[in-house]
């Protein structure tokens, strides 16, 4: 077996997420590709938390169905995850807190009871460190290298006191030794033995967005706490002093977006991040960015709505919202990266579009993409290009500067407040070329057309969407954003079953790639739409922009991300 699913589950507050990260780093550093995810309710203590990781020798793009090794820290973990265990799966059972309900377990399941709490306490550690005891045992059972686990513990707890780090390592060793003594004759299902040394990265979508923003030269990041963008706040706040950046915690999302517009108006690359609820509050200023032609990048991490919805679960229900939010028409760019690597590159692209075309750019991600880690071989920063667009530099003619000069391509030379010998006017009212409020008919028409013309100009340099799979395959799948990984994995499954498919992934939703989509339709005998909302928002968008209808829709809106198996099964059913 070269593909394996790990899971650790237990009560919130027992370090499920940090144990998961340690496991993932250990697998990564042993030379394997990792995709991980976490599931948790919207509370701090007492709920049921789950961390899962898929580990494989080949590149993996999403989790898959089944669990091959489960660490069950309590009884609930045993009960909840029994059904998903794969044939021959192992369960490291915390025998201090849980018992195996024998009749529920199929004969092929291996129960490995370990007194996790007792082992932690015998080594002078508190109960909460039982997760590391279990990790030590898991690494032994997988034939892993304890030294790599040790390095991972070290790095994950790098901000803790040295004695705490040592204690975590000590209890992991106790778990490793316990397993060695008691379970050494077990057959290893997946071998985590160290192999080729690469230097891959393990990034969440949020990590990659942060790195992309920073690489793009963004110096002002304003975000009000909200799942799923909280890890971006933590990263920016932690790095701000060292990198000479600002993380600004506003009193609300309205203050956040307006402060970012102020920073951009004075020359910074500025970004806000939020979820759908926060974006709802930002909408008026979204239009202000459009009207005043102020460059701004907005990260919208979707979760299941409406209203508070399922605050810690994923979804793709905000596409229509960001495309249409705000009164009247103004130009906007909407991007939807499919994985952490695209998050990095589109964060950079977003700033280049925002400044070149002087408009708001929305990057639509979701809880699943924001918080799941994927293995990426590298990010080559030498490929990054920063383009600030057409700038006005102060000269003797500054008196004649017109911030909103009418041009053929709609782009006026931009200036920022604070440039020497230059003053200019910016207004949320309709304005003339100089920025003064102006309500005349001719001016109004000219200005509306000028602003919207920028999108036409942008279309010319828009990258075409990617198609995965053989282009001659008659069966086509269309989706957007974070479904990319699960669909690519589904394609693998279908291929093994003898069904070839091609997949059009849209990560650029406004301006809409009309020609590419129409062409994909022309070259497909049958098309499936895959997305995570109840009405098929992308399907509606495709119909609106191309007149083409998609009947076969695989829609999911239960807050959980797609698994490749369920997509493959549905396609088989429809076919």
């Amino acid at each position: 077996m070269n593909d394996f699913n790990f899971k650790i589950a237990g009560e919130a507050g027992y370090g499920i997420a940090s144990a998961g990260l340690i496991f993932a780093k250990t697998a990564l550093r042993s030379g394997y590709s990792v995709f991980d995810f976490n599931e948790y309710p919207s509370l701090i203590r007492g709920g049921h938390n789950v961390y899962g990781a898929r580990v494989a020798e080949e590149e993996v793009y999403s989790p898959s169905f089944g669990t091959d090794l489960l660490i069950a820290l309590n009884q609930k973990a045993v009960e909840r995850h029994t059904k998903e265990l794969s044939p021959g799966a192992w369960v490291i059972l915390n025998s201090d807190k849980a018992t195996a309900p024998a009749p529920d377990f199929s004969p092929g399941i291996n129960i490995l009871p370990i007194p996790l709490i007792k082992l932690a306490q015998e080594n002078g550690a508190p109960e909460v460190m039982m997760n590391n005891v279990a990790l030590g045992a898991a690494i032994f059972l997988l034939g892993g290298d304890f030294k790599i686990l040790e390095s991972a513990v070290h790095d994950v707890f790098s901000s803790a006191k040295p004695e705490i780090i040592d204690l975590n390592i000590k209890v992991a060793r106790a778990g490793f030794d316990f397993a060695q003594k008691n379970f050494k004759k077990r057959k290893i299902l997946f071998n985590l033995k160290k192999k080729r040394a690469g230097k891959p990265l393990l990034l969440t979508g949020n990590d990659a967005l942060c790195l992309g923003l920073i690489k793009a030269g963004c110096k002002f990041f304003a975000a009000y706490p909200m799942t799923p963008i909280n890890s971006m706040i933590a990263y920016w706040a932690a790095k701000a002093r060292e990198l000479n950046l600002v993380y600004y915690q506003p009193e609300d999302e309205i203050a956040g977006i307006n402060s970012a517009l102020g920073a951009a108006h004075a020359g910074l690359r500025a970004c806000v991040a939020t979820s759908g609820g926060g974006f709802s509050l930002m909408v008026e200023a979204y239009g202000l960015a459009g009207m005043t032609e102020t460059p701004l990048v907005i990260i919208e991490g979707q979760r299941s709505g409406p209203s508070s919805g399922l605050p810690t679960w994923t979804g793709q229900g905000d596409l229509r919202f960001v495309l249409g939010a705000g009164q009247d028409d103004f130009p906007r760019v909407v991007l939807a990266p499919g994985d952490p690597e695209e998050c990095f590159w589109q964060a950079i692209e977003a700033f280049n579009w925002a400044e070149k075309y002087q408009l708001p750019v929305v990057i639509l991600v979701d809880k699943y993409l924001s918080e799941s880690r994927q293995t990426i071989s590298s990010l080559d920063e030498t490929r990054v290009k920063i383009d600030r667009g057409l700038l006005f530099s102060s000269t003797a003619q500054s008196e004649d500067y017109r911030r909103y000069r009418l041009t053929e391509n709609g782009i006026s030379p931009r200036a920022w407040a604070g440039q020497a010998d230059l003053t200019f006017f910016t207004s949320s009212y309709e304005h003339d070329e100089s920025g003064w409020a102006e309500e005349g008919i001719e001016n109004r028409k000219a200005m509306m057309e000028k602003r919207m013309r920028k999108l036409e100009t942008l279309k010319e340099e828009m990258p075409p969407p990617s198609i995965y799979g053989p282009s001659e395959a008659p069966l086509g799948l269309i989706s957007w954003g974070s479904n990319k990984g699960a669909i690519r994995e589904a394609q693998k499954i279908l291929r093994v079953q003898g069904t070839e498919t091609k997949f059009l992934h849209l990560n650029f939703l406004n301006p809409f790639p009309v020609e590419a989509v129409a062409d994909f339709f022309r070259r497909s005998s049958k098309i499936w739409l895959v997305e995570q909302n109840i009405t098929g928002q992308l399907a509606e968008l495709i119909r609106a922009r191309t007149g083409l209808e998609i009947e076969n829709r695989i829609l999911k809106y239960d807050g959980r991300p797609f698994l490749p198996e369920e997509i493959a099964v549905k396609i088989k059913e429809i076919t």
Partner: protein
């Protein structure tokens, strides 16, 4: 050299509007502070006050109703050399923007908020604002305003503002003095300006104010005394105090937030290597 801060735009305020006085006092204050137009950025809300964006030859940003303070704060963080003003109205700042006034007072960004208080929504032709007098009959309160008016100076003081003052649009030299002091202050300064609306506010007229206002400095008020300052903010009716109610020194938002205190963030290079950052993801 003294700069001219007038533009050629046609002024559309009603004759006799208190905004003329504020407009003139701001120009005078800029001149007294020897500022050049390019050194100033004013951010406006939406209301009659906001039209000033077309009449002052400085950098102007007329933003959204109620949201001038956060926009001004962002600009100040980007370029702390800019002299930043948030020019706002009472409906604008005390209604929709109330939250931002509280938090700007608390954070202490080094900028000046000039609150035009005509105690009315005038641009929408006369509805009661959060600052309208109890009992005032307006288009939205035909039986008179039910609630007591919101007191912006007391609110700012309670929220931690480090400079709280009041001027009167009918007393230009004094208003100029207060504005100059506010702009010189290192930190958040709130200058409320009593601005009679001659068209729609029949109660709080120029004459009404003229008969009531007096200057705190003439009474020997000490702006360092917070308790006494708070007490003075409660005085309204027979007598209305003008001048600096309260002033204290406290580190500004920018001093605490910006990694490099003396650098202009907007002048920093955008180039930055992330190689070191990547190591923690391996």
């Amino acid at each position: 050299m003294t700069h001219d801060f007038k533009t050629s735009a046609e002024i559309v305020w009603c004759p006799g509007c208190g905004n003329f006085g504020i407009w003139a006092a701001l120009q005078k204050a800029f001149q007294e502070l020897s500022l050049k137009p390019d050194q100033i950025l004013a951010v406006y809300g939406i209301g009659c006050h906001g039209h000033m964006a077309n009449y002052l030859k400085i950098n102007n940003f007329e933003g959204l109703h109620g949201r001038a303070l956060p926009l001004a704060t962002g600009a100040k963080i980007a370029n702390q050399n800019l002299n930043v003003l948030a020019i706002v109205g009472d409906g604008d700042q005390l209604g929709e923007g109330g939250n931002h006034l509280v938090h700007a007072s608390r954070r202490n960004p080094n900028l000046t908020c000039v609150l035009h208080n005509n105690q009315l929504y005038s641009l929408t032709v006369g509805q009661a604002s959060p600052a309208s007098e109890k009992g005032l009959k307006t288009k939205s309160t035909p039986w008179g305003v039910f609630d007591p008016p919101l007191n912006p100076l007391a609110l700012a003081l309670a929220s931690g503002a480090t400079f709280v003052a009041r001027g009167f649009a009918g007393d230009l030299p004094h208003l100029t003095k207060v504005l100059v002091a506010g702009m010189k202050h290192q930190g958040f300064s709130l200058v409320e300006v009593l601005q009679p609306c001659p068209t729609l506010n029949y109660l709080n007229t120029f004459t009404w104010f003229k008969e009531r206002v007096y200057k705190l400095e003439d009474k020997g008020h000490l702006p360092q005394d917070k308790t006494e300052s708070f007490r003075m903010t409660q005085e309204w009716g027979e007598k209305i105090p003008l001048g600096i109610f309260y002033q204290e020194e406290r580190p500004t938002l920018e001093e605490q937030l910006l990694p490099e205190k003396d650098e202009i963030l907007a002048e920093q290079s955008l180039e930055l290597s992330i190689e070191k950052l990547l190591t923690e993801f391996r």
